[in-house]
Symmetry: C2
Subunit: 345 residues, 2 copies
């Protein structure tokens, strides 16, 4: 299974909205197709969005007819704007777009720029895959044999176009021979836990139980959870972390029950330009995702629903942030500065 | 709309599993039919289960052929056992069954016992309706004009066969002219919030937004919630409260964000025989309620899911418990003793 694959003149993705019922691959030849796929969550997960964004720029560039560099860059900016506008919260996407922009500017000839952009997109993909494997190996040290690990949303290969973040850590610990049990929250409204994490855990042969989001507190209060581990969409300079809606709740519950709460993310998810989580843009999605489940209405017609797709967990609730550059704790500001300085993407 | 209605020789209920799509009434003539309806959540909500339980005993009694009191009571015990076995957590049910048992024992002649049981069931229903109206009026004092009130699960007329508990308080405050806004959690797995509370709030013309359970923390952390109010299924002598799964989580989030957390329940929900919430039996329901939503599978086939239907909120998280006997706070043990002594059901 490959969540995102570059095929030279198009990108092949596994349509995540159809899992687990159907395994459908889509081949996307235009950057607009990738933009639509990101908006519709056919590709999702902060690192995977970054990877897909890189490929989208490459595809857009291949189709630009301009012969002068200035004209080419002007048209490329329009492509970039369309991709940037898809989803606001994950940091990996704007970072990948910046990186693609720099790659384009560094080359003189238009045909060479196109080649450079394809190479850069592939490099982003490879580096993200390596980063997630590395952070998963580091994070696995925190997971002890016999642990029950609670996780939220989906953070495996599907979400990262690599090895995984939170789910990568769980996977690595298991590959090291530790016997784990996972509690996977279904993650309403779009059920990434029930549909995708359950599907991946089944593939990896890791024992797990699916629970609703509202049940996490029950199992924590019963002493049945040894640690919580989640991914991230954007991490501010002070360690405040935006992640899938419901993450803040799990962090508050974990603190109340003295359970370690870990965030696992590649350095590309860190946004050192934001002082705190209050500045992270939170995407509000369609109310229809709340009033309907997989197209089936679950509420009376015409009612109002709200749908914030992410929330921010303040850093005091986070026991450690696991990155490929190391595992950091309080004071996060220092740790993040050091790691980001060493391994700036 | 009447959630439960006595028709002399049968009970008419509104099938809550079909709401909000269909308004289907069922007429149930045998106690076994009521037992099945309670198990299947066609009738649900602690007070409504108590009311339905009383009528089930009356129906069962009407069908008993025995002519001696001893034989009659023996057969009645079997009916009672079947009703008691339907759902374990709500206290209103065993309390109603005890009361029916006492009513039967107090009369000599079998035909008179039957009449007494019908009267007693109707009395339980009327008293529960009065109690919920009274507690709603008392509780409304806690709700200020302009408040945004967050509530969980369903606690209106459907759940109480009366006026409502948490939703009754909201209703009363609105009837007093206060302008409120409600945030209603959908309440997975069975979506009582999305299906039933949304339906009732729409009927009452109270402005509300539906959210997933995982979004409550977001709105609390943003300062958009003025208080949380929920119902209860069983309250121990120390104030620990069992209620729909997810309630404990809301209480922890409310405390973290300095938001008052209220429990509204008739005195019949209080179980003074239990010292603390640790002794409250928690029902685990079918995993299929987690892996499927309204019959549609949302997870890969054959996976394991867990389904605790209730959780316990320890009393230190509860700002006040609202009953028809008064509003009580810490020390709950004293307050509960006093109220229960005065108004023992």
């Amino acid at each position: 299974m490959k969540a995102v694959e570059w095929l030279g003149d198009r990108v092949r993705i596994l349509d995540q909205t159809q899992l687990p019922q159907k395994e459908v691959y889509l081949e996307l030849g235009r950057h607009q197709d990738i933009a639509s796929a990101i908006k519709a969550l056919k590709i999702r997960g902060a690192p995977a969005i970054g990877v897909a964004g890189g490929y989208a720029i490459a595809l857009g560039a291949l189709k630009i007819k301009a012969s002068s560099k200035a004209e080419f860059l002007h048209e490329l900016k329009d492509v970039t704007r369309q991709i940037a506008a898809t989803r606001p919260t994950a940091h990996n996407l704007p970072l990948a777009l910046e990186r693609m922009q720099r790659a384009a500017e560094a080359v003189k000839d238009v045909e060479q720029i196109k080649k450079a952009l394809v190479s850069e997109a592939i490099a982003i993909h490879n580096e993200e895959a390596e980063a997630t494997l590395k952070l998963s190996k580091l994070g696995a040290e925190l997971i002890k044999d016999g642990f029950t690990v609670l996780t939220h949303c989906n953070t495996g290969p599907l979400a990262t176009a690599g090895y995984g973040t939170a789910l990568g850590v769980i996977r690595q610990a298991t590959e090291q021979g530790k016997k784990l049990r996972v509690l996977a929250t279904e993650t309403r409204p779009l059920l990434q836990g029930a549909r995708l994490t359950a599907w991946e855990l089944k593939e990896f042969n890791i024992p797990f139980s699916l629970i609703t989001d509202s049940m996490a507190g029950y199992f924590m209060s019963k002493g049945e959870v040894d640690c919580v581990i989640v991914g991230a969409d954007r991490i501010a300079a002070n360690g405040d972390t935006a992640n899938k809606i419901g993450t803040y709740t799990l962090a508050v519950l974990a603190k109340e029950n003295n359970i370690p709460f870990y965030v696992a993310a590649p350095i590309t998810t860190i946004d050192p330009a934001l002082a705190s989580g209050a500045q992270i843009p939170i995407e509000f999605r369609s109310p229809g995702e709340v009033t309907h489940i997989q197209g089936v209405p679950i509420a009376p017609k015409g009612i109002e629903a709200l749908n914030p797709a992410f929330d921010v967990t303040p850093h005091p609730f986070i026991t450690a942030i696991i990155t490929e550059g190391g595992i950091i704790g309080e004071p996060y500001e220092e740790g993040i500065k050091k790691i980001y300085g060493n391994l700036s993407p």
